[in-house]
Symmetry: C2
Subunit: 141 residues, 2 copies
């Protein structure tokens, strides 16, 4: 086994890493987070978690996304095996997107992130406010 985990519950008592790999690699976790962390992926995955969607349906369901970014987002998800793309050679063309089982297994994590975000959203907003008040000149945002 080249990866290890240790649950961390209490501050200042932990000595072993939460995540590590043999040569300090991240075993793809940052790849995943970098993908989920972009502007649209999570919103598209959440919409697809509800069922099969056509291209325009997705675009209408994710307000503000451009055609270009929707294309890029679903392409990358397809490349990673999280989304399947089915082309029906009709006129007009019809393309259906659907989460794969792998993609569906990720919705659990997305939900866990949403839970955490929701639970601690106020705390983070408060922390940012007081930090900004204490550092009015800072460019960090």
């Amino acid at each position: 086994m080249s990866v290890g985990h240790t649950a961390v519950t209490t501050p200042a008592e932990e000595t072993r890493p939460v995540v590590w790999c043999e040569e300090g690699v991240d075993c793809g976790i940052r790849d995943l987070l970098h993908r989920l962390g972009d502007r649209w992926t999570v919103l598209v995955v959440v919409e697809l978690a509800q069922g099969v969607r056509r291209f325009r349906e997705l675009q209408r369901a994710v307000p503000g996304i451009s055609q270009r970014m929707l294309t890029l987002t679903v392409r990358r998800l397809e490349r990673d095996g999280l989304v399947s793309r089915t082309v029906h050679p009709t006129i007009p063309p019809q393309v259906e997107y659907e989460l794969t089982p792998l993609g569906h297994s990720l919705t659990h994590l997305v939900r866990a992130m949403a839970d955490w975000s929701y639970d601690h959203h106020d705390a983070i907003v408060d922390s940012r406010q007081s930090w900004d008040a204490a550092n009015p000149e800072s460019e960090i945002r």
Copy 2:
């Protein structure tokens, strides 16, 4: 309650969203993911999960990070209330970083992401390989 969740386990049977908020807002989940998805935050959090670290200790523990990016990363974590920063006015100066309880609570999620990444890393790599083989001209990477 303005946020709702529905577990999704089986494909093509889900009709309710995994994550939603009243006006289609993401309740901070993309904020969080965008932060965790950057190049260094997770690595810094993982290192700090092991205990208190000084600035240079952190930099040595996270190979490849520049002074600038380490500063930005810990500043943003501090602003969000995930990391505390303690300055000892000694000569030379000594600054200690430590996860707050809020930050520690996030290590659970990081571990869940790492678990998922580890479990499905091979599947994703394989999927990317065959996609790249099937789309040799594509710029998507």
